[in-house]
Symmetry: C2
Subunit: 460 residues, 2 copies
Amino acid sequence: MIGKEVKKELRAIVGDGRYLDNKEDLMLYSYDAFMVQAQPEVVLLPITTEEVSKIMKVASRERIPVTARGAGTNLTGGSVPTQGGIVLCFTKMNKILDIDKENRVAVLQPGVVNMEFQKELTKYGLYYPPDPGSMAVTTMGGNVAENAGGPRAVKYGVTKDYLLGLEVVLASGQILHTGGKTIKNVTGYNLTQLFCGSEGTLGLITEITLKLLPLPESRRTLQAAYKNLSDAGQTVVKVLERGILPVALELLDKVFINIIEDYTHIGLPREAEALLLIEVDGPEAGVIDQAERLTKLCREMGAHEIKVAKTAEENEEIWRARRSAYGAEARLRPTAIAEDCTVPVTKLVDMFQEVAKIARKYNLLIPIVAHAGDGNLHPQILTDIRNKEEMERVVKAIDEISIKAVELGGTLTGEHGIGIAKREILPYEIGEVAMEITRTLKKAFDPFNILNPDKVVRIV
Amino acid sequence: MIGKEVKKELRAIVGDGRYLDNKEDLMLYSYDAFMVQAQPEVVLLPITTEEVSKIMKVASRERIPVTARGAGTNLTGGSVPTQGGIVLCFTKMNKILDIDKENRVAVLQPGVVNMEFQKELTKYGLYYPPDPGSMAVTTMGGNVAENAGGPRAVKYGVTKDYLLGLEVVLASGQILHTGGKTIKNVTGYNLTQLFCGSEGTLGLITEITLKLLPLPESRRTLQAAYKNLSDAGQTVVKVLERGILPVALELLDKVFINIIEDYTHIGLPREAEALLLIEVDGPEAGVIDQAERLTKLCREMGAHEIKVAKTAEENEEIWRARRSAYGAEARLRPTAIAEDCTVPVTKLVDMFQEVAKIARKYNLLIPIVAHAGDGNLHPQILTDIRNKEEMERVVKAIDEISIKAVELGGTLTGEHGIGIAKREILPYEIGEVAMEITRTLKKAFDPFNILNPDKVVRIV
C-alpha cells in the first residue's frame, strides 16, 4: 500500500492533471488484451524523462511496484499491475522528436502510436516496416518493450532490427543512454537489445532511436486459394526456396476464411482449405516480375483460384480480409485468445495438424491465421472467459500448443512475449542455465523487484 | 602461473596434439592485428563443446585467464592474452553443422571461415551478407564476438542482424543455449545479442545459428570519380535521400587512389579527390534501372568519370581497387593502424576534413577509406611501430579522431570493437551509468574476471 504522504509526493511530481487514483480510472488501467485483471493504486502519466526518473527514485526508496503501459494492447498480461502499485502510462510522451531524412534515423518518445509514426514517415519517403496487428493504436515504447513483429517480418524483420539506441530510466531512477544513431556501433556491450523485449522488467524506455528504410517504390499483393492445406504449406516453402523474399506471406485456414466471409461478404472462396496472401515490394520492374513468378508457382503447387492486385486499391482489398480476422472472430464467441508460437516453415503444416488435434481433444474452436513466411502461427482460441470449465480446457490446450511448437524446433512465443501467460513454461524452452542468467540479470537491474514484477520471471 | 599439475589436467582434456606450450607456439599466439603483444602460458585447441566446458571448469577453479581466439585478425587487441594464462583457439571447431535451405538457417561451429561459409552457401542459392575486410581468413566465432561489419552493411546490416541463436560456454563451464532457429522469437531476454560484440568477455561461443537470405539475382557496380571530395560526400547523402539502398557505398580519398594505383596500375583516375564505388543488387530489371539512375545522379553531382560494370568480371575489376587498399598501403610504411569511427552520413565530409586537420597537426600520413553509406570511416594511420616518438603522436591522433567522431554524433568504433585499443575512452561515449552496468554485467557473467580480462572494461 502506498502511504498518503508518498501519494502526495508522486502527485507533486506530475501535477494534478496527470495523477489518477479514483476508482473508475484505476479500473480502466487494470487490464490489457490478456485475460488477467489487477488494479493499480495510482496511475501516473509523465511527460518528461525527468519526471520518470523522479518517480522511480520514490518507487525505489519505497519499494513500490511500477508497471509501464502504453496503449494496453499486450496479449500476455505484460501491462497488468499484478502487484498493484504504480501504473506508469506513457501515452502523453507522444512526440516524434526528429525525423532525419538524410541519415534515415528517427527519434521518438515512447507514447508515439506506430501507425501515426508510419504515416508521418511517408511524407519523407521513408519507411519503418514493423506492423503488429495492433499498429493502429499500439505505442512504440510497447513495441520496443515487447519486440513487436507483424506480417512484414518475413522480409524486414522485427522491432529489434530497427532499434539503434534508447534512453532508459533504471529502477534506481538513473538515466541510461544506449547505442546511437549509426547502423554500425560496437562501442561496448549491446545494452540496447537487452532492453528490447524485456517487457518493462529491466528499465523504462523514455526515448527511442530507430533506423529507417527508403519507402519501397512499388508493391503488389496476390491471393491464392487451395483445396488442400498442405499444398499451401508447400507453396510457402517453395517461395523461399526459389529465392523470392516476399514482404509478407500469410495463411488463413478454412474456419477463418468462412468466419471472415460471413462478416465481410468480400467474396472469399468458402470451399478453400487455405488462403495464402503474398506481398512483394521493391522497384516496379522487379515487383511485376516477382508477382508473375509467384502466380505461376502457386498454380503449379495446386492453387485453384489466384487473384493478383493491379492497383493500390486492389492491394488494400486483398489485405482487408486478413485485417478483418479479429473483428470477425469476435462475433462467434465472447473471448478470443491469440496464441503465438513459431515453428520452422517446413514444420508449418505439421503444426497446423497438431493444433487441429489439440482442438479436437479439448473440444475447442481454434481457427488459425499464420505469418506463414516466418513460421509464426496465431491459433485463435475462441471461448468464453466466464465459462470456468471451458477455460480449464483452454489453458491445457494453450500449454500443449506451445510445447508442441518447441518440440518441432520452434519457440513458445514469436511476437506476443512471455508476460504472465507463458511465464511458467518459459524454462521448458530456454532451460535452467538460461533461467539462472535471466534471474541474475533481473536482480542486477532491479534489485528490489519493483519493475513489472511477476512478468517474464518470478523473483522470490 | 599455471602449475604443472593443472597443465597436465588441461593437456588430458584436449590430448597431446591440441595442447601447445613450446616457446615458438606461444609466440605465434601472442598477437593479433593490433600493436600489443603478450604471451599465453598454454594454447588449447578444443574440438567439442564438452572440452571447452571442461577447460572452463578448471580455469574457473584455478582462476586462470582465458582468451578466445579465431584467426587473430582482431584490430583492437581483443585476442591478445594480456594476462597470460590460456589461449583457447577455436580454429579446429570448423564444421558447418547444417545448411537448411528451406528454412534459410545455418548452424556453424565458431572456427568456420567467413568466406568458406559464403562459398558453400552459394551452392544452395543462399546468402550471408556480412563481409568484413578479413573475410578470407576470419572465423565466424570472431565475427560474432566482435559483431563484424563490412561494406554490405548499408543495405544488409552487420553480423548481429543475422544471429538467431548461440551455444555459449560460461565462465563456470556451464553450457548455455540462447535463441533458436526462427526469425521471430521473444521467449525471454535477448541473451543472444548480449554475447554478440562482447569480445569474449562474457562467454565462449561454441555454436552459431544464423539467418540466411536468398542469393540476389543480379548485382551491378559503378565507380565514380570526383575532383571535389564534398561533391562525393553529397552524392552519398543524395543516393540515400532518393530512396536507393545500395548494397555498398564506398569512398576512397586522393591519397588512397594514388597508393592503390601505384601498386596495381589498374588505371584509377589519379587526379580525382575522391572515388565512389556503388553496388546495387536485386532482381535483374530493378538493378539495371537503379544503375542508370545512379549514373545520372553521380553526373549531376559533379563526377567527371563514371564506369559501370556490365558483367560479373567488370564488377570484380572495380572491387579489386578497393580490396587492394590494405596491400597497397603496406608498401609505404611498415605499420598501418586501421581507425574505425562512425558518423552520420551527413557529417562524412566534415569528418574527412577533421581527420586531415589532425593528420597535419601531428605530421602523419592518414589516407581514408570509408564505408561511406553507413558513415563508417577507416582512416589508415601509416607509421612505424618501432619509432617511439612517432607512435606517441599516433596515439594522440587516434584519440582525437575518435573523440571528434563522437562529437559529430557518431561512435568510437563501428566494427572493430573496443578491445584494449579504445578501453580508456569508452566512458567518453557511453557515460558513467552505462559503464556501471557494463561492470555489473561483466561481474555477473564472469565473477573471477577470467574471460578475456583487460578487454572492453577493466575490472579492479
